[in-house]
Symmetry: C2
Subunit: 369 residues, 2 copies
Amino acid sequence: MQTELSKRLGVEYAVFGFTPFPAVAAAISRAGGLGVLGAVRYTAPDDLARDLDWIEAHADGRPYGLDVVMPAKKVEGATEADVEAMIPEGHRRFVTETLARYGVPELAPGEAAGWRITGWMEQVARSQLDVALDHPIRLLANALGSPPADVIARAHERGVLVAALAGSARHARKHQEAGIDIVVAQGYEAGGHTGDIASMVLTPEVVEAVDPLPVLAAGGIGSGPQVAAAFSLGAQGVWLGSVWLTTTEADLHSPALTRKLLAAGSGDTVRSRALTGKPARQLRTEWTEAWDDADGPGTLPMPLQGLLVAEAVSRIQKYEVDPLLGTPVGQIVGRMNSERSVQAVFDDLTRGFERAVDRVNRIAGRSAR
Amino acid sequence: MQTELSKRLGVEYAVFGFTPFPAVAAAISRAGGLGVLGAVRYTAPDDLARDLDWIEAHADGRPYGLDVVMPAKKVEGATEADVEAMIPEGHRRFVTETLARYGVPELAPGEAAGWRITGWMEQVARSQLDVALDHPIRLLANALGSPPADVIARAHERGVLVAALAGSARHARKHQEAGIDIVVAQGYEAGGHTGDIASMVLTPEVVEAVDPLPVLAAGGIGSGPQVAAAFSLGAQGVWLGSVWLTTTEADLHSPALTRKLLAAGSGDTVRSRALTGKPARQLRTEWTEAWDDADGPGTLPMPLQGLLVAEAVSRIQKYEVDPLLGTPVGQIVGRMNSERSVQAVFDDLTRGFERAVDRVNRIAGRSAR
């Protein structure tokens, strides 16, 4: 499973694995893919440095990458406190009342919310970058918009390829003009922030729009046949995020959430603004339903919504309040039905890919091997 | 491009083309696919008989099929007039006011609405069936729900394979239990009635759910790479509808609508209840926006919405009122950028398919041929 891009990056498989967990990222790289650590959960640069050191020590010398979030639009107000002040009182009341209705306990006094949204702020993303570029990362991905020109230049000076996620061909061309190296075409069915064009349509459209830039297909990919489909559509690699959430190396800190993921069907996700203020696919819960309810206050724009719900999400996760408990995940959650090692996921991907290629060759009237 | 199913049906390519136009259906069959005529526009059985005769005379002896709409739920009230009486006055007023706001002219006195929804009614569908089974059709497809047991039995007696559309694995299994022969897995990106699970996820899920029944992939397919992707995902054929709308054989009766289709991007469709009362993907217009507006009266359930808007849709189409003018179409409308013959579409599909297979073989490390 080799493309020009995978050869350039020195990976055995053109499989890019996005994950918030260092152990998963390292395991993906060890298995022959390229593990990409999501930085959005990190507030303190030292924590990120520690985890990148850990990956470096556990990746067997294989390449890995980092995914940061630099919003295209800056928010006025330099500090988190300034941004907090922009949140309407009615929305805070809605959070309090909804949590009370489900009996969600409060955090202990002085206990910090374990999950903050500060990673969305540009200054935080820049301090993460400084840390990342001190490590031998091979790929820097940006989840929202093109990275600033100086960031791209600094990455290129260090031989780091820069990727950016796009939900439309127009969006992808803007990235190309900004000078990035790889476009991740993120389809409607993907977990997390995503547009409304499905991978089957989006992937070839983006491939044509940014040719000859390499495109990774994201959204709806968790099995070998889906990998083969993405390559059929012109992708030079696949970008998988959801499938790792139920690996044994993942550390969700919530057996209840793992159970929900294993039980969920492909129809049990929703594209909702509840988590960050931009549409992001996640498990459908009574929490997302409350925000998407026409009778509720509705969501706030990014990054206000994320700040508004950060503590609530921490409380829901800590106390595993089942009807409200969710996570970003794509429609492939329907086939995430058992806990497996990252290596087992890779074995399934590569075997399933070979079988799908055999099938297509038979249909095309070519010899299977 | 041969599968067990295409061999069983005696077609050269495992490409199924759904179309409301007899000339397109015949051209698809002549080109080596299986043309499937949509019956929903026909009110009088004689009209359908005439058009099936025409296809029979122009298909060069190749197989063709028919697509009917038998709603799973029957509506109380046997006649169209009874159903009409269930429509609230406020909704009728909204139609009148919206048309007036855009200056849509009325039809001439006595001029019948050219587009009725009577095809949705079970008794109409049954009279269509009688006509169809008098013709040598090879495939009978039902767009909503499983056909009744006696219909399946009658089709099987005549050697006609029965297909049914499904938007979820659960839905597909119900069809299988009803005794149908082929499931059409219709993804979110498809034109017309569709669920919210994208083809990349839905196709393999349905393939696994109804194994060993053959599955056709529908939604997001209009090019060779998309055909190859569908086969990678386990489909035994592809079901294309949108791509034929801008063929030279299609008879949209509206140059303005053809222009809109040629100009539209993949992001210019919406899944709306405006047309029939069930979510159907179509061009986004000021008409769909009016129905989807939270401040409007909202849509009525099927078949009321279709009856409510039938005359309005006729008026909008007849007078080509541009901001309101739309049609069901999938997200692949973004690549429908020129008028081509059905044969040219086939040539593009088959050549693009071969190139996609070459690409995947290279990535898999196999010789290209």
